[in-house]
Symmetry: C2
């Protein structure tokens, strides 16, 4: 049987979502996937197997999130022959997982369902604080001290809507050769001292959301025109975009199938 889970996590203390191997050895631990597979293995197969380093219950994530990036709606699938009682299973899995990782919404799905390949869209949210002075409750969010013009930000974001080559906003290290993404929503708004940027697209390149936010801040910080976003997009040149901002404000909100 194939099952899906929604996975919530705070990425700060993890080396990204995905288990990474080098010469057959797992490197850069802990990862969200590593912790989840250990917990699933402990629950499904039993105590001793979980200590074993071979991946006895494998998970497939909707997509990779980087070190420091959070999730409210990551989707994962895994296969098992064991029968699972949903409410008990989710509760027990949560008790085993580290406190910064939780799961919900266990569902049995068709074996053709694939958490990554079946995904139609991903919804990311970036949040930063827009205030001159620090506040103890800002946590790890980036603080932008200069005034933000939300209307200009929304105009700049509007150039990203539709299908484009997003080469300008990808960091090196992207394995997928295609740089074309379809963006269906990109909007900024203010919530008290915070600025929230929501972007929904069929796929995202490596560091793409964080580089889009960096480009927005380039426009705001230097009082440039919103059209700069279009120029950067059209250039298909990473050197034209702003810097890649901190991962801590980024959350994978939802994956739609």
């Amino acid at each position: 049987m194939r099952y899906t889970l929604q996975v919530q996590y705070i990425g700060k203390n993890f080396a990204g979502s995905q288990i990474q191997f080098e010469n057959g050895r797992e490197i850069e631990t802990p990862t969200i996937q590593g912790e989840l597979e250990k917990a699933l293995c402990k629950l499904i197969i039993g105590g001793k197997a979980a200590v074993n380093k071979t991946r006895q219950v494998k998970t497939v994530f909707s997509g990779r999130t980087d070190r420091g990036v959070n999730s409210e709606g990551q989707v994962v699938h895994f296969d098992t022959d064991k029968s699972i009682v949903a409410s008990k299973f989710v509760y027990q899995l949560n008790e085993i997982l580290p406190k910064e990782i939780s799961v919900s919404d266990l569902k049995a799905v068709d074996e053709k369902f694939h958490a990554q390949k079946s995904a139609k869209s991903r919804y990311y949210r970036y949040v930063f604080v827009n205030r001159k002075c620090k506040n103890a409750f800002d946590g790890d969010l980036m603080r932008v001290k200069f005034d933000i013009n939300i209307d200009r930000m929304n105009k700049a974001l509007s150039y990203l809507l539709g299908e484009h080559d997003f080469s300008s906003f990808k960091s090196s290290g992207t394995l997928n050769p295609s740089k074309v993404c379809f963006i269906e929503k990109a909007a900024a708004y203010r919530d008290g001292d915070k600025v929230i940027i929501d972007i929904v697209g069929n796929r995202f390149l490596y560091n793409m959301v964080r580089t889009i936010v960096g480009t927005l801040l380039e426009i705001e910080g230097h009082n440039r025109s919103a059209e700069l976003m279009k120029q950067v997009l059209d250039a298909c040149d990473r050197r034209k975009a702003g810097h890649t901002v901190s991962p801590y404000g980024l959350t994978l909100m939802k994956v739609t199938y």
Copy 2:
């Protein structure tokens, strides 16, 4: 000149708000007061003085908060002969302070003002999660798995209103001999998965709010009558009350003068 500041902090990584001495030596560091006095000293007197262990700028807090307790509205006063430009001073002080401590609302006040003695009331908030399953975003909040009856909780809290001897809700170690407090507000409500309890009083005994919350949970968890709160209050006996709950959900919201 005497000045006041509002101080916000996340108490988790601090040994309470107040500097504590034993045989003339500071023990159990870091404290909120210790960090604030070091930063004030650095800013008002200069770099070298801040390294010196003598307290060259002394602060008076509205009251002590324990290890792990947060503040959104702690009030502090301090005296200095140096002239202070409010906006610059607050900004610079924030940049020096650790990220879990911030200050705001600097005001020059009359020399008769005293952050502790002039305070008319303190407003504390306790927040816990009421949900069976864990969520990665719960942070350090206590999770209560059984159902909470908010109406019964409010009835139980209503017995605390007015002037009473709160001996039943004080932990040992309270120095002040008087156990009489006047509670002007005590109310519980639900906000999504969270339960929020707001209590306003002229003063609070050591661990009083946390022990009141522990007694509410004793009523809820064992399906007891709300009148149990009145029985515990009347008994003036700490052994009749519930346990002292985790400090992480507690925040000093506001001090009124």
